[in-house]
Symmetry: D4
Amino acid sequence: MKAKVLIVMGSDSDLPVMEKTGKMLEDFKIPYHMTVSSAHRTPERTLKLVKNAEKNGVEVIIAGAGAAAHLAGVIASHTTLPVIGVPIDSSPLEGIDALYSTVQMPPGIPVATMAVGKAGAKNAAIFAAQILGLKDAGIAAMLKEHRKDMAREVEKKAKKVEKHGKERPV
Amino acid sequence: MKAKVLIVMGSDSDLPVMEKTGKMLEDFKIPYHMTVSSAHRTPERTLKLVKNAEKNGVEVIIAGAGAAAHLAGVIASHTTLPVIGVPIDSSPLEGIDALYSTVQMPPGIPVATMAVGKAGAKNAAIFAAQILGLKDAGIAAMLKEHRKDMAREVEKKAKKVEKHGKERPV
Amino acid sequence: MKAKVLIVMGSDSDLPVMEKTGKMLEDFKIPYHMTVSSAHRTPERTLKLVKNAEKNGVEVIIAGAGAAAHLAGVIASHTTLPVIGVPIDSSPLEGIDALYSTVQMPPGIPVATMAVGKAGAKNAAIFAAQILGLKDAGIAAMLKEHRKDMAREVEKKAKKVEKHGKERPV
Amino acid sequence: MKAKVLIVMGSDSDLPVMEKTGKMLEDFKIPYHMTVSSAHRTPERTLKLVKNAEKNGVEVIIAGAGAAAHLAGVIASHTTLPVIGVPIDSSPLEGIDALYSTVQMPPGIPVATMAVGKAGAKNAAIFAAQILGLKDAGIAAMLKEHRKDMAREVEKKAKKVEKHGKERPV
Amino acid sequence: MKAKVLIVMGSDSDLPVMEKTGKMLEDFKIPYHMTVSSAHRTPERTLKLVKNAEKNGVEVIIAGAGAAAHLAGVIASHTTLPVIGVPIDSSPLEGIDALYSTVQMPPGIPVATMAVGKAGAKNAAIFAAQILGLKDAGIAAMLKEHRKDMAREVEKKAKKVEKHGKERPV
Amino acid sequence: MKAKVLIVMGSDSDLPVMEKTGKMLEDFKIPYHMTVSSAHRTPERTLKLVKNAEKNGVEVIIAGAGAAAHLAGVIASHTTLPVIGVPIDSSPLEGIDALYSTVQMPPGIPVATMAVGKAGAKNAAIFAAQILGLKDAGIAAMLKEHRKDMAREVEKKAKKVEKHGKERPV
Amino acid sequence: MKAKVLIVMGSDSDLPVMEKTGKMLEDFKIPYHMTVSSAHRTPERTLKLVKNAEKNGVEVIIAGAGAAAHLAGVIASHTTLPVIGVPIDSSPLEGIDALYSTVQMPPGIPVATMAVGKAGAKNAAIFAAQILGLKDAGIAAMLKEHRKDMAREVEKKAKKVEKHGKERPV
Amino acid sequence: MKAKVLIVMGSDSDLPVMEKTGKMLEDFKIPYHMTVSSAHRTPERTLKLVKNAEKNGVEVIIAGAGAAAHLAGVIASHTTLPVIGVPIDSSPLEGIDALYSTVQMPPGIPVATMAVGKAGAKNAAIFAAQILGLKDAGIAAMLKEHRKDMAREVEKKAKKVEKHGKERPV
């Protein structure tokens, strides 16, 4: 099955964050390809990945990087496919540098930026699914089901917390 | 022609920023509906707008707001359509509050966040076009043309700047 | 005894912070109900909680959440009861995102924001007691007693620190 | 008619911000007293104001200040009445200093903090009304009416913005 | 021997930081008194400490506190003795809140602010010695000696680091 | 009359801020010398100023600078006289850079840091007076009088603001 | 005469900042070429500029950009010539975004970052001259002369400020 | 072999960061001298180091420091050799203070600033090599080889990550 989503991270040390993206795409049964490429250390490789992705029918690209996180922006400069950026908190500035470097794109070249770190990595997959769900009713249905699952999960946790309160009655 | 994109802003004072979104969508000939609704002052209206948008075939929702900018997040909590957020610099904190309130969404409910202010408002339209371009070859073609236009524009400006340098020869 | 205060947290992972609120209310013998609801994952549940709270005589609502902490704001948009917000430091941005998302509410819908984390969770309970103390002389008296207890506590600590100094005489 | 709310500002230069609080209280027909006192330049005056306020039946105190904004905290240290703080953006740090100085109160002495600047000044009055509305049905009713007015206002603005869109049809 | 310096900290949890101040004063043989008092929890105690200090010949007051660190400012509002503030990183905002709350004093009431945390606590003692050294030639001489000691210490460390380099020759 | 205080600023563009220091010292009748020297552009001049100041009986040095404001720290590294730093908001970072560069001094070399900009410039003079007041009863008396003047000023402003309130009666 | 330095800016709106770089290079009689190219809108043009620069004997590249300022980093990824970055304050975040995006480069690909805005633009030229001065004694001599000029300039300004003080004698 | 690069750090506690600089220079076979000197505790030693470096043929100076990191700036004020600054995250402000203190140099005295911490320490060595490579073809060749090594390294890591994905097939 051909990948619909390309996940690129700037370094293999970003894997503990970016595997949340892969895991979530698997839940939605969306085929993806996940690899490493650096905007700065392998600019040609990055360009080639983008061109191949376009040729092979990839529809969304997700890029995760830390520090002066140029990866998503550099990818976006080489394609008109939607690019989603995940800022990673891997420098002493704790992700603020990656957030600003990813989100503050100049007019003309958007990067759809998610939250810093694992929350953003997971949401990148969901947002990709929301895009793909516009033409794939199966994905759209799974998204609605996922919402219900989350709501049920919250209710279960609510019960646990409510019980915690009850055990210390006024 | 039915709107493909819904633009919501939190206050009419956001119009000078958010009309960049409308203008750009017009350039791509993408029909849109633009209105005002507040996450906090009109929660019911916001919910109704989202539900109507879904019913009427809207495929992307763009929300612009300032300060504790909850609008995009609240909209995203009521739909599985892709939601794009534009943080607006309208409080004394100059858009940092709006940026954090828009981008730092918890796992499960993504908002695709753009740059703060007018750059982000324009890019929200381009990103919406990139999403819609996945199933509309006409839009995809216009996006590629827009890239070339921007490149030409840069080259024109380069000439101007280069001439400026030449007029002060070493 | 019917709850006078409703405590809502965005996730059960916020319990170690928000149980400070519950504990403090117990000290003031103020009955409360504590539960989990997410502004984004369970918007309907959140709305229902607010409406039930109003119906059942709750007088103050306390909401604790992290990251793009919309919970207090969303609750405030559905009620004219006083809403107290506790920003929680649960994202890589260490609570700044939660603080800005909670405090920077637009004109019309206030959220009474407390300090980030456990200090704020405890103070939320005290502030709720200060509100309720306006019509309940018993609570007002306990608040004054609590102040005296804190002063005594400081004096005890002062003694300990003063002794520490004396043990290293000049 | 005796004041129910005391408004204190750190300097008369804060008046353009804090008069929003007074104006809003007038809309809710809540009698108030508004004055200037500095936490640092007039500590005795500040203490006396608080003691007099308690004696004269004031139920809520609102304090607005900029820079190292200690005013609300100092007032809160002298009373168990609810104290609402409005951080004002009057230093080169643009209100971040006032926000942190107001909201980051230690455990034991809460200050209910509003947004920086005029939005916060207006909301301080609304929050005071929400507190007083718990024992005054007339204020509670006015608060609900105010919500409806705001919703109507948003709808009016929405119409204006929608028309603006229509005048530039796709 | 009567204390020349009064050290006040907002909580006994600040002792690991503030004992650096005491230790340094001991090195300069400057008698001091060290205690705990909270600007907010024990305002009267704080005021009394200041008044007693003035009466008993204290010449410099050093105040260390975290979060919305009002302690130094409140003390400064009650005396015209020089007051030195040490911001402590004890809240999730990591000392930025304490720094702004201590340094951003309004015109009229200065607080001499030191670095955040232990560096600042040590420097507070040195700065107090510099003030006292203006009338005490012994202290002035010790300050000059301390400078030389520090320079010697740096040179010793330099040797260690230089050797480290030499052990990995090019 | 020989200068007791040396005021140094990093650039003549800092004069509108630093003349507040001079003006305030004049009010306290403290003789001062005010000049320009750059930590970076004129390191030798800066060193010579410090050495001359020490020789000529200067007792306090006040340094104002913007951006990477090293001036106060460099001066402090060459003297054991008390050095007061005034961070100036003259770069696009609006004084945060100057504040951190001035206050975050390493252990051993304190700089007594004042608020950013004009408030800090005025307070630097008052703090110098507080230091000098320890051995000059005349200055100590003027400081107490200045406090009373400020209190009277606040009361005058309070009247103005109270009248403003009264003109809009409930 | 062939250019030794290439100045690239991301947009012609950066010219008022970056012409400071050109002007300063002219003072040092260093031939340069100045043009516009965007990391994102014209990635191919940017690559070509770098490759041509290398071929034509350029020795230092200076890149100025605002917002998510990737320009210097992208250029550095395509050459091993020294690249100097100038962050420009052209977005609502006032240059903090450009600073972090320029300076926080990952290990392997350095960008020599200057101050935000005009100060940085001027210093970029001086730093380029310092690099070129290592093999060009003429430039090295001019740099030393420039230092003396600056020192003289400071002394002139000092006289002006000192006179200002004298006109208001104690 | 005579040192071409001088590495200075403000304290021996900076060694775990700054030894990355030494290690990288060794990889490029560039002889260096590494030592400790404090801008504030040993200003004379710092000046002497700079003057000796100039005399002994050092061509680039690298300075690493934390907190109010004046070291690079103070060194730059005494030489026209290129100075590279490495901000170190050793205070509670986590390197932001060191970054601003290093990069925000005033016009006239540039410091080429690298990323905060170890990434910056490594890049300082590479940037020094890029400067020296302008007159030393051997270093220039090693830099190009280093780029290729980094690219190969990225490809190896990519394989590892790709395999990780394949082991969890869709």
